[in-house]
């Protein structure tokens, strides 16, 4: 999935200049997928439409801060996710979380980004985190593309289940119909590639705990492919 396409960038540029036709076009292009995203949770069309409406309003109000290098669709989905979270919390379906472990401030509502931290602190650490995240995303993308080009779909699938779904090796092995050792080898290869990218780019190891959690759980073994 590429970052924002040229067509999206132009569309956003027109919206920024107040072009109503462009805004109408943006709504037409994205409302269906946003509605499907929200409705899968609300199960009610009218409420889902309200959330999508708030999403579009949220997009316009946050437009001055939108970085057009970022995927437009991804940005809209993230706003929709926030608006949906708010809606579900209002309905009492999404329980409020304590702000930090050990506290139980039921009165404070949860937000994905720490709202009560000083703006300067968020901005400073946000910039650094953004760079680290982009560097690791590029390394993961490079590995996925390489596997896809080689037709190593099994490795893409295994890495996705291990790291995106968080499944254990044995569950991945069972679902993909391969041995646990093969899963462990795929994991080893993936982590080794990412560690190398972290080293090459001089990123701090401690901010990627999964990469250094323990020694890789397998070396390359006989059934490595």
């Amino acid at each position: 999935m590429p970052a924002s396409s040229q067509a999206d960038k132009l569309l956003v540029q027109r919206v920024r200049s107040g072009d109503e036709e462009a805004w109408n076009e943006l709504i037409a292009r994205f409302e269906g997928r946003l509605l499907a995203f929200v409705e899968s949770r609300t199960r009610q069309r009218a409420r889902a439409e309200d959330v999508v409406q708030e999403t579009f309003i949220g997009f316009l109000t946050s437009l001055p801060n939108y970085d057009s290098r970022r995927s437009l669709e991804g940005y809209l989905f993230s706003i929709a996710a926030h608006k949906l979270t708010d809606q579900l919390r209002r309905e009492g379906r999404r329980p409020t979380l304590p702000l930090s472990p050990g506290t139980s401030s039921g009165a404070s509502s949860w937000e994905p980004r720490g709202r009560d931290r000083p703006a300067s602190s968020i901005l400073r650490s946000g910039e650094r985190r953004h760079l680290e995240e982009n560097a690791l995303a590029a390394a993961i993308r490079e590995q996925i593309v390489q596997w896809q080009r080689r037709g190593d779909w099994e490795k893409v699938r295994a890495a996705e289940l291990l790291f995106v779904r968080g499944w254990a090796n044995r569950d991945v092995a069972a679902r993909l119909g391969i041995s646990e050792q093969t899963v462990a080898n795929h994991k080893f290869e993936f982590i080794a590639k990412l560690r190398s990218a972290v080293r090459r780019q001089g990123l701090p190891e401690e901010v990627f705990p999964e990469l250094y959690a323990d020694s890789p759980d397998a070396g390359r073994q006989d059934d490595d492919r």
């Binding site: 999935m1 997928r33 329980p95 994905p112 931290r117 680290e132 995303a137 968080g166």
Partner: protein
């Protein structure tokens, strides 16, 4: 009953990124088990402290998501076999919520398009059927 959710699933929950049924499962567990709320709060604190997780980065950047065009081709049955298999895996087993939404939207468009086609055919039929009956006399 104590629920054990992988950390990656809890992170995805915080981002409203799990498939709807998994989101509901965690919400139910949150109501039943106060400890889970603290586990989630700890994850938030880790994020605030600047720690990254591979799954969150993968998801946020949509690193393995098929393009919308590929999803459309999948519905039309014109993708290569291996890519079509991957799309199925990504949407169903990996449970990518954004791709599920895109696919549902494309399917809805397809259904709407079918309705338009059906309505056009009905119009052709209704406007011409009289001529057919005349020929049979």
């Amino acid at each position: 009953m104590i629920h054990r959710f992988p950390q990656a699933a809890l992170e995805a929950y915080l981002d409203e990124a799990l498939p709807a049924e998994d989101m509901a499962r965690i919400e139910k567990a949150l109501r039943d088990e106060p400890k889970l709320a603290h586990e989630l709060a700890a994850l938030n604190a880790r994020r605030d402290a600047g720690l990254h997780s591979l799954g969150a980065i993968w998801r946020r950047h949509r690193l393995s998501c098929p393009s919308r065009e590929q999803l459309g081709s999948y519905l039309l049955g014109t993708l290569s076999r291996e890519m079509a298999d991957y799309v199925e895996f990504h949407v169903q087993m990996a449970g990518c919520r954004c791709c599920q939404a895109n696919l549902a939207d494309l399917e809805a468009h397809q259904a709407e398009a079918d309705e338009i086609v059906q309505s056009r055919r009905r119009k052709y039929f209704q406007s011409s059927a009289g001529y057919l009956r005349r020929r049979r006399r």
